[in-house]
C-alpha cells in the first residue's frame, strides 16, 4: 500500500496498484464529510436547546421548502463557477423570472406550462446575454453580471411599480408549497431532481468535464482543442435557465410574484453554500452534493438561531460571514492542494 503523505509535493515512489482506488486516510475522510458531521452536530445542539419547536416535522418541512428555491439558485451560481466565472445576476434573474412567470399567468392568462416555458426563455436569454458579454466581449464576469443584474432589477421595478402580482395565478403552482409526494414537499423533490440533473451534466457528460478544464486552466483548455468561449457561454445559459426555474418555484413558495425578491443579498446564502460545498464532499471542486449540504446547513443554522430568538440582523451577519469564511476555506484548501494561490479575483 502506498504511504499516505500529508504534503502533496512529496512524490510517492510506488507505482499504484492498477484499477482500484486507494483507501483514503482518516484526514481525507474528515475533510470530505466534515460538514456533514457538523450538520448533524448542529441539529443535536438545536434539538437539545429547543426540543419542542426545532425537532418538529413542521419545522423541518419549513426549512426544506424555504431552502429549495435557494438551492436551485445555488445550482445556477455553480455552473459558471465551474468554468471559472461568477454570475452575480442570478438573484436578479430569479426575481425577474418570478415576475415574468406570475405576469404570464395573471396578465397574459397563459396556462402554467406555457408560462413556465416563457419564463425559461426569458431566463435563458438573460444567461446568454451574460455569457456573450463575458465570453465574447472579454468583460470580467463579476462586473458584467453585476451590471446586467442591476438593469434587470430596475426593469422589474418599472414594470411592477413595486406591487406584487398575486391574482390569476395557477392554483397548482400557488399551492405547491403545501403539497407532498411520498411525505416529502414537492418543492424539495423538484429541487433534488434538478440537483441530480446538474450533477449529471457536470460530472457525467463531456460538457461538464470540458467546463471543469476551462475553470482549471483556460489557456490549456484552448490548446487541448476546447472551444472555451462557447463553453463559458453555455455555462451562463445553463445558469439563466436554472435561475428561471428558481423564479417559478419562488412564485410557488411565496404564493405570489414579489418584485422585492432577488438581488445579491437574497442569494448570499446560496453563494456561501457553493463555496462551502467546495470545501467538502469532493474538496477542491465545486460539487452538487456539497453545495446542497452547505445550503441546508446554513438554512438549518438560521432557522435554529431564529427559534432561539436572536435579532434579525444576526441573519445578515451570519450569511455575509459565511460567504467570506467559506471562500477563505476553499482558497486555503486550494493552496494546500496545489501549492499556489492567486490574488483573489
Amino acid at each position: 500500500m502506498t504511504t499516505s503523505s500529508t504534503t502533496p509535493q512529496t512524490e510517492t515512489p510506488a507505482i499504484p496498484a492498477p484499477g482500484r482506488r486507494t483507501t483514503p486516510a482518516p484526514g481525507v475522510l474528515l475533510e470530505r464529510f466534515g460538514l456533514l458531521i457538523l450538520f448533524v452536530a448542529l441539529i443535536f445542539v438545536f434539538a437539545a436547546l429547543r426540543p419542542e419547536t426545532f425537532m418538529t416535522a413542521a419545522n423541518f418541512r419549513s426549512i426544506a421548502i424555504s431552502q429549495s428555491v435557494l438551492a436551485v439558485a445555488a445550482l445556477a451560481l455553480m455552473l459558471p463557477l465551474v468554468g471559472g466565472r461568477f454570475d452575480v445576476s442570478v438573484g436578479a434573474n430569479l426575481g425577474l423570472c418570478s415576475i415574468v412567470c406570475a405576469a404570464l399567468m395573471s396578465r397574459a392568462e397563459l396556462s402554467l406550462p406555457l408560462a413556465v416555458l416563457g419564463t425559461l426563455l426569458v431566463g435563458g436569454v438573460i444567461g446568454a446575454l451574460n455569457g456573450a458579454i463575458v465570453a465574447y466581449l472579454g468583460v470580467n464576469s463579476i462586473i458584467a453580471t453585476l451590471g446586467v443584474g442591476t438593469v434587470i432589477g430596475g426593469a422589474v421595478t418599472a414594470y411592477t411599480q413595486g406591487v406584487p402580482i398575486s391574482t390569476g395565478l395557477s392554483p397548482a403552482l400557488a399551492t405547491i408549497s403545501t403539497r407532498l409526494i411520498v411525505g416529502l414537499p414537492v418543492l424539495l423533490v423538484i429541487m433534488l431532481a434538478l440537483a441530480v440533473v446538474t450533477w449529471f451534466v457536470l460530472t457525467q457528460t463531456p460538457f461538464g468535464r470540458h467546463l471543469t478544464a476551462v475553470g482549471s486552466n483556460a489557456a490549456a483548455a484552448r490548446l487541448t482543442g476546447l472551444r472555451v468561449n462557447r463553453l463559458v457561454l453555455l455555462s451562463f445559459v445553463g445558469s439563466g435557465l436554472l435561475a428561471a426555474v428558481a423564479g417559478v418555484l419562488q412564485v410557488g413558495a411565496q404564493g405570489n410574484g414579489d418584485p422585492t425578491i432577488g438581488g445579491l443579498p437574497f442569494i448570499l446564502p446560496a453563494l456561501a453554500a457553493v463555496f462551502l460545498g467546495a470545501t467538502n464532499w469532493h474538496p477542491g471542486t465545486y460539487n452538487v452534493p456539497g453545495t446542497i449540504l452547505g445550503l441546508f446547513f446554513l438554512g438549518t443554522a438560521i432557522s435554529g438561531l431564529s427559534l432561539l430568538g436572536v435579532d434579525p440582523w444576526v441573519t445578515d451577519v451570519f450569511n455575509g460571514g459565511a460567504v467570506v469564511l467559506a471562500i477563505v476555506f476553499s482558497a486555503q484548501l486550494k493552496r494546500r492542494r496545489t501549492g499556489f494561490l492567486d490574488i483573489g479575483n
Binding site: T12, Q204, R209, T212, A213, N217, L223
Partner: protein, 509 residues
C-alpha cells in the same frame, strides 16, 4: 589607461553536480562597452544572475565594482544595486500602459510630500532624465506609444536615474536588449548606447547577435560550457573568429551540405511551403513518417510561432501547410486535432497542465468525448486507460486520483505527452519538451516520442538545448531571422555545429 569598472574573479557556480560556471575571471574597463557572449548553456545567464544577486556563487569568488569588493557568495539584489550595478533585462519590466513619468517613478520613487505625489516635480525630473538620455518624448506620453527602441532607452534611463550623485560610477548590464527589437530599431538603440559610453557610462552588453557585438563593443568576453574562453579587445576581430570562440573549434564548413543519409524514412506527413506570419518569413520544410525533426534557433527566431501556426493557434499570412498531401489551414487547435496534429506547448504550467485536477483528468483532457457512451461517461474505461498510461509512460505518482500539482515537472510532462500520444496523432509538435524536466524523465520523454515515431508518426521538436536536439533528432533545421537557413543530419549533427549555425548569418556556400 582607463580604470577597471567591474571585475569578476574566480567565479564558480554549481547546481547539484553540474558546473554552470567554472572559475571565471575577467574585467571590464570603465567607459567601455563590453560584450558578453556564449551559446546556450555557456553560463552567461548564470553569470548575470550572480551579478544581479538572483543567484549566489559558490564561496571563493569575488566581484569588484569600482573600489568595492563583494564576496561572490553573498550577492543580493540590494547589494548589487548599492554597489552600482544596473540591470535592464530583455523582457523589460516596464509598464506600457503607464506614462513615462510613472514608469520612471515606479518602485518607490514617487516624490511625495504631505502624503501626496508631487506630479510637477516628477514631471520635471522625468524631463531632465529624458533630455540627459536624448529620448525624444514627453513625461506624460504613454510608454507603449513610443517606438520600441525608445522604450528600451526609457528602461535604461530608469535604471540609471540615480547615478551621478557621488555614489561612484555605475555599470549598466544589458541582457539581450535587441532580442525583441525590429531590425531598423536596433541601430537607433546602438547609437544611443555609443553616446552613453562616450559620456563615461560602462556597459556590459549581453547578446547573441555577433554582428552587433562586433559593431558596438570595445572589448568582449566569451564563455563556453561554463568556462572563460577569452577576454580581448574587439578591434580586428572577425565574425568567423568570434564563432570559433563560441563554438570551440575552427569553422571550416559552414553550410556545407552533407549528402549522406538522405534515404527517405517514410511518406511525407507534413509539408510546409513558404509559410509566412509573425516573425516567420517564408518557411519551407518537410517531415516524414518515422522521423524526428528538430528546430534549432535563438530566442525570438520564431520557433514557437512556427509550431503554433501548424496547430492553428497563430495567424498565417501566406504559404501552405500540407498534411499527407492535402492542403490544410486549421483555424483553431480543435480543427488541427481533428486532422491528427498534436501539440505539447512550451509553458507546461500555463498552457498544458490542469494543476488542480487529477492525473486521470489531465490524461483524458483531449479526448473526453471518447468515453461518452450511451448517455454517460464510461468511468471504468477511463480509469483503465489512465492506469495503462501511467504504467506505459512510467509516471511517478501516488495514483491516477492524485492532483497534477503533486507531480514533479518531469512527470507532469510525461502526463501531457501521454495525453497527446494516446490520440495516435499523425504529427506531434513539441515546444521545449524537456524544459524544467530532470535528466531521467528527459530520457523517458524522448523514448516515448521515439516509440511513437517508430509506429509511423512524424515529430517536429523545438528545443534550446542543442545537445538534446543533436542526440534525439534524425535531422535538425536551423531557424534564423524567420527562415530555415540550414539543415544538419548524420555525423554533422552535433551541438557545436548547431550553435555555429544559429549564430551565422544566412549565406550561400
Amino acid at each position: 589607461m582607463k580604470d577597471t569598472a567591474l571585475a569578476v574573479r574566480h567565479l564558480t557556480k554549481s547546481f547539484g553536480a553540474t558546473l554552470a560556471l567554472d572559475d571565471v575571471s575577467f574585467e571590464v574597463r570603465a567607459g567601455h562597452i563590453h560584450g558578453l557572449l556564449g551559446g546556450n548553456g555557456s553560463g552567461k545567464s548564470t553569470l548575470i544572475k550572480i551579478l544581479a544577486g538572483v543567484h549566489t556563487a559558490d564561496p571563493g569568488g569575488a566581484v569588484h565594482i569600482g573600489a568595492r569588493t563583494l564576496p561572490a557568495h553573498t550577492t543580493t539584489p540590494e547589494l548589487a544595486r548599492r554597489c552600482g550595478l544596473r540591470f535592464v533585462h530583455q523582457s523589460t519590466s516596464t509598464f506600457p500602459a503607464l506614462t513615462l513619468a510613472e514608469n520612471i517613478a515606479i518602485g518607490d520613487r514617487f516624490p511625495v510630500s504631505a502624503g501626496r505625489i508631487r506630479w510637477s516635480r516628477l514631471r520635471r525630473r522625468t524631463q531632465s532624465l529624458l533630455d540627459r538620455f536624448e529620448i525624444d518624448a514627453r513625461p506624460d506620453d504613454r510608454l507603449g506609444d513610443l517606438r520600441p527602441a525608445d522604450q528600451t532607452m526609457v528602461a535604461i534611463a530608469r535604471a540609471l536615474q540615480d547615478d551621478g550623485h557621488g555614489d561612484g560610477p555605475s555599470v549598466l548590464v544589458l541582457d539581450e536588449p535587441t532580442a525583441s527589437l525590429p531590425e531598423h530599431e536596433v541601430g537607433v538603440l546602438l547609437d544611443a548606447l555609443r553616446r552613453y559610453a562616450r559620456a563615461g557610462q560602462t556597459i556590459l552588453y549581453v547578446s547573441h547577435r555577433i554582428d552587433e557585438v562586433l559593431d558596438l563593443t570595445d572589448a568582449m568576453t566569451v564563455l563556453r560550457d561554463g568556462c572563460h574562453v577569452v577576454t580581448r579587445t574587439t578591434d580586428g576581430m572577425t565574425e568567423k573568429q568570434m564563432i570559433e570562440y563560441i563554438v570551440g573549434r575552427p569553422v571550416e564548413r559552414v553550410f556545407a551540405e552533407d549528402a549522406a543519409d538522405t534515404a527517405a524514412v517514410g511518406d511525407v506527413v507534413l509539408e510546409v511551403d513558404h509559410l509566412t506570419g509573425g516573425p516567420l518569413r517564408g518557411i519551407d520544410l518537410t517531415v516524414r513518417a518515422g522521423e524526428i525533426v528538430g528546430i534549432a534557433g535563438l530566442l525570438g527566431a520564431g520557433r514557437t510561432e512556427l509550431l503554433r501556426m501548424i496547430f492553428g493557434d497563430h495567424p498565417v499570412e501566406s504559404g501552405t501547410i500540407r498534411l499527407g498531401g492535402v492542403t490544410v489551414r486549421p483555424r483553431n487547435p480543435g480543427e488541427a486535432m481533428k486532422l491528427g496534429i498534436a501539440h505539447v506547448p512550451e509553458e507546461r504550467e500555463h498552457e498544458a497542465a490542469f494543476l488542480d485536477l487529477s492525473v486521470r483528468e489531465n490524461l483524458s483532457a483531449a479526448e473526453i468525448t471518447k468515453y461518452w457512451v450511451r448517455g454517460r461517461l464510461d468511468r471504468r474505461h477511463e480509469r483503465r486507460d489512465a492506469d495503462r498510461a501511467i504504467t506505459d509512460f512510467a509516471v511517478r505518482t501516488s495514483g491516477q486520483d492524485a492532483l497534477m500539482a503533486s507531480l514533479s515537472g518531469g512527470n507532469q510532462q510525461k502526463v501531457v505527452l501521454a495525453r497527446w500520444l494516446r490520440r495516435n496523432p499523425r504529427l506531434l509538435l513539441l515546444d521545449e519538451p524537456t524544459q524544467g524536466v530532470d535528466v531521467g524523465a528527459r530520457a523517458d520523454v524522448y523514448a516515448a516520442i521515439r516509440a511513437s515515431v517508430g509506429d509511423g508518426m512524424a515529430a517536429l521538436v523545438v528545443s534550446s538545448d542543442f545537445d538534446e536536439l543533436a542526440h534525439a533528432c534524425d535531422r535538425v533545421l536551423v531557424l534564423r531571422d524567420g527562415r530555415i537557413t540550414a539543415e544538419v543530419r548524420g555525423s554533422d549533427l552535433q551541438r557545436h555545429r548547431l550553435t555555429e549555425l544559429v549564430f551565422t548569418k544566412e549565406m550561400t556556400p
